[in-house]
C-alpha cells in the first residue's frame, strides 16, 4: 500500500494553537479591578438603580405606568418611527456605503465627512440644523416643525452614520472575484448583488440597523426644538421620562426608562451575536 512520501502533511505556516490571551498578571489584575470599579460606579450601578426603582411599584405599578395612555402613545410613536427610520437606513445606508466604496468621483471625500457630521454634531444643534431647512423659515417652503414628520426626520439625521459605517468596511474587504465569477456564470448585475453581495453584507447591515434603531429609540436632543413635544402627537419616550423627572416622579421615569433599557439590551445581544457571525465570515 505504500508509495513514496516526502514529508508528513504540513500546512504552509507553522501556527501555534491559538492563544486568546495571557492570564492576568498582578498589575493587569489590579488594572482590571480599578476599571471594573469605575465602570460599575458609572454605568452598572446607576443602570441597576433604574431597574430597581422601576420594580419597586411591583409588576402592576410598572404595567400601569407604561400603559398609561400618554406614556403608551410616546412608546408607540418612538418605536414605530424608529422602525421606519431603520428601514429607510437599511436601504439608504447600504446604498451610500456602496457608492462610497465602489464609485470614485470628485467630492467623495466631502460626502465621507458629511456622513460623520450627525455623529459628532451636538444633538441640540442637529435639531436647529434641521429646523433651518424644514422649519418655519424654510427656504423650501415646507414647515414640518411640531409634526410627526419632524420626529422621523430627526431620527433619520442622527442615525445616518450607523449602517453606512458598519457596511463600508465589509464591502471594501469583499472579494470581487466572487462577483466576477458570478458574472462569468451568467448572473445579471442584480442577481449578483442579491445572491453574492447581499448575503455577505447582511450581518453588517443587521448590526448597523440594530445600532441605528437603538439610537433612534433613545433620541432626545434633536427633538427639543424641532418636534414641539406635543403630548399624544409628537412626544417621544425620552421626553416623557424627562418630564417625569422634572415633575419629581422618578418611579414612572424609571418604568419608561426600563422599557428603553430593555430595547438597548436586546440590541446589545443581537449585536454580540452578529459580530461573532461577521468575524466567522472574516
Amino acid at each position: 500500500m505504500t508509495t513514496t512520501t516526502l514529508v508528513p502533511d504540513l500546512p504552509a505556516g507553522n501556527r501555534r494553537p491559538v492563544r486568546a490571551g495571557r492570564p492576568l498578571t498582578r498589575v493587569s489584575g489590579l488594572g482590571l479591578g480599578v476599571a471594573m470599579v469605575w465602570f460599575s460606579l458609572l454605568v452598572l450601578i446607576p443602570l441597576a438603580a433604574v431597574v430597581v426603582t422601576a420594580s419597586e411599584g411591583g409588576w402592576d405599578g410598572f404595567w400601569r405606568t407604561v400603559t398609561n395612555e400618554q406614556t403608551a402613545a410616546t412608546i408607540r410613536l418612538t418605536v414605530g418611527t424608529a422602525l421606519l427610520v431603520t428601514l429607510v437606513n437599511i436601504v439608504m445606508g447600504t446604498l451610500i456605503a456602496w457608492v462610497l466604496v465602489r464609485d470614485r468621483f470628485f467630492g467623495k471625500r466631502a460626502l465621507e465627512v458629511l456622513i460623520d457630521v450627525p455623529f459628532a454634531l451636538p444633538t441640540i444643534v442637529a435639531g436647529l440644523v434641521l429646523l433651518s431647512l424644514y422649519g418655519p423659515d424654510s427656504p423650501l417652503g415646507v414647515n414640518i416643525a411640531n409634526t410627526r414628520i419632524a420626529v422621523f426626520l430627526a431620527f433619520l439625521f442622527v442615525t445616518l452614520p450607523f449602517i453606512v459605517r458598519t457596511v463600508q468596511p465589509v464591502l471594501a474587504e469583499l472579494d470581487q472575484e466572487a462577483e466576477e465569477a458570478a458574472a462569468s456564470l451568467g448572473a445579471s448585475r442584480f442577481s449578483t448583488f442579491r445572491r453574492i453581495i447581499l448575503p455577505s453584507l447582511t450581518p453588517a447591515i443587521a448590526a448597523g440597523a440594530a445600532l441605528s434603531f437603538a439610537r433612534a429609540v433613545g433620541e432626545y436632543g434633536s427633538l427639543v426644538l424641532l418636534s414641539g413635544n406635543l403630548p399624544m402627537r409628537t412626544e417621544v419616550a425620552s421626553v416623557r421620562i424627562l418630564s417625569s423627572i422634572e415633575n419629581d416622579n422618578p418611579d414612572s421615569a424609571a418604568a419608561v426608562a426600563v422599557v428603553l433599557l430593555a430595547i438597548s439590551l436586546a440590541v446589545i445581544v443581537v449585536l454580540d451575536v452578529l459580530q461573532r457571525r461577521v468575524m466567522r465570515r472574516g
Binding site: T3, L6, P17
Partner: protein, 347 residues
C-alpha cells in the same frame, strides 16, 4: 550544558502542547528543534524564552534556574518568524532597543549598533524604517537586534519561514557562517528537515509534544530511532515490512540473479538529475526506487521489464507499523497514472 529542560509540560485548554519533555541543549552550538506544525517545538522555544510559562517542570539557562523568570530577566535573544520589527523605529533604533533599555551610554550604543549593522550587512540601511526593507533584510535586522544585548542564548522561531525559497537558502547559509563567527548558543525551530540537516550541529525531533530523537544530522538520517523520524527526515518507501529510503534501493535485471525481491517496472519518471522507478513486486507491493540518471541509463530498464529490488548494504531501515499488504489493482493503476513529481502520502 547550557540549557537544561527537565520534565516540562504545557497545555492549552485540552490541547497537550508538551508532554513531560526533557532536553539538554549544549553550549555554543547550533541546535534545531525539528518537527511538524502543532508538535510543540515553538512552545518549547517560547518556554525557554519565558514568553510562555510551563505548567510543570524546570528550565535552567547556564546553571541558573529560569523557570519563574520573566523574559526580560533571562537575557535571551529571540527572533520571531514574522520579524516583530518595531515599525515606528528606524533600523538603528530597533537594534539599539535592548541597549537603551539597559541604559548603556550613547557612545557605547552607537559603536555596538555600527558593529552589528556591519555584521548583518545593513550598514546603509540604518536610517530606514522596517517597512522600507525586504523580508530578508528585516529578519537580519531582527537578528542584529537580538544579538545586540549579547544574549546567553539566541532563540529563533521559524526564522526563515516567512521568506521565499531563494532568500531562505541564502539566509540559512549566512546563519551557519554567522554562528561560526559568533558562537553564541543558538536554538532554532523549523519544520523543514532540509533546513535542520543543513544548518544544525544537533537536532531535536519533536512530535505531538514529545521528543522523538536527539542527535547529529548524520545520527538522525542514518540511525532513525523510529518510524516517525525515518519518515520525517526524508522520502521513504516500503519493501516488505521495512521502511527504506528509495535511493538506498538498487535494481538489477540479470536473469540469473536470484537475490532481491522480484517485480515488474510500472513507471519511469525523470525529475531533474534523479529518476524514480515505480515497481510492483510479485507480492503486489508498489515500491519506489530512486536512481541517478546514469544508473538508469546503465540499467536500460523500461516499463514492463522484470527486475529485482535489493537494499544497499548498511542502509537505514525501520520496521513499518503499517502491515504490508497486497496493493489492490485500482490503487496500482492510480499510482501508475499519477503525475511526475506527485508523491502520494502513505496511509
Amino acid at each position: 550544558m547550557s540549557i537544561e529542560i527537565s520534565n516540562v509540560g504545557k497545555r492549552f485548554g485540552d490541547f497537550v502542547a508538551l508532554d513531560d519533555v526533557s532536553v539538554n541543549i549544549p553550549s555554543g552550538r547550533l541546535t534545531a528543534l525539528l518537527g511538524p506544525s502543532g508538535g510543540g517545538k515553538s512552545t518549547l522555544l517560547r518556554i525557554i524564552a519565558g514568553l510562555e510559562r510551563a505548567d510543570t517542570g524546570r528550565v535552567e539557562i547556564e546553571g541558573v534556574d529560569a523557570t519563574g523568570l520573566p523574559p526580560q530577566k533571562r537575557n535571551v535573544g529571540f527572533v520571531f518568524q514574522h520579524y516583530a520589527a518595531f515599525k515606528h523605529l528606524s533600523v538603528r533604533r530597533n537594534v539599539a532597543f535592548g541597549l537603551e533599555i539597559r541604559k548603556r551610554s550613547k557612545d557605547d550604543i552607537r559603536r555596538r549598533v555600527d558593529e552589528l549593522l556591519a555584521l548583518v550587512h545593513l550598514e546603509q540601511f540604518g536610517d530606514r524604517l522596517p517597512a522600507q526593507l525586504s523580508g530578508g533584510q528585516r529578519q537580519r535586522m531582527a537578528l542584529a537586534r537580538a544579538l545586540a544585548v549579547e544574549p546567553t542564548v539566541l532563540l529563533l522561531d521559524e526564522p526563515f519561514g516567512a521568506l521565499d525559497a531563494k532568500v531562505r537558502k541564502e539566509l540559512r547559509d549566512w546563519l551557519r557562517r554567522l554562528h561560526d563567527e559568533v558562537h553564541v548558543t543558538t536554538v532554532f525551530v523549523t519544520h523543514d528537515q532540509e533546513e535542520a540537516l543543513e544548518v544544525a550541529d544537533e537536532i531535536v525531533v519533536i512530535n505531538e509534544g514529545r521528543v522523538e530523537q536527539i542527535g547529529s544530522p548524520d545520527d538522525l538520517y542514518d540511525r532513525p530511532a523510529n518510524e516517525f523520524v525515518m519518515r520525517f527526515l526524508g522520502p521513504v518507501t516500503q519493501l516488505g515490512d521495512q521502511l527504506v529510503r528509495p535511493h538506498d534501493l538498487q535494481l538489477s535485471t540479470g536473469a540469473g540473479d536470484r537475490a532481491g525481491v522480484p517485480g515488474r517496472v510500472t513507471r519511469v519518471t525523470r525529475v531533474g538529475f534523479e529518476s524514480r522507478v515505480g515497481v510492483i513486486t510479485d507480492d503486489g507491493q508498489a515500491v519506489t526506487v530512486t536512481l541517478t540518471r546514469n544508473e538508469l541509463l546503465a540499467l536500460g530498464t523500461e516499463v514492463g521489464d522484470e527486475v529485482r529490488i535489493r537494499l544497499a548494504p548498511e542502509s537505514p531501515t525501520t520496521t513499518s507499523t503499517t502491515p504490508a499488504q497486497s496493493a489492490p489493482v485500482s490503487l496500482t493503476k492510480k499510482f501508475a497514472s499519477a503525475g511526475g513529481a506527485n508523491l502520494t502520502q502513505t496511509s
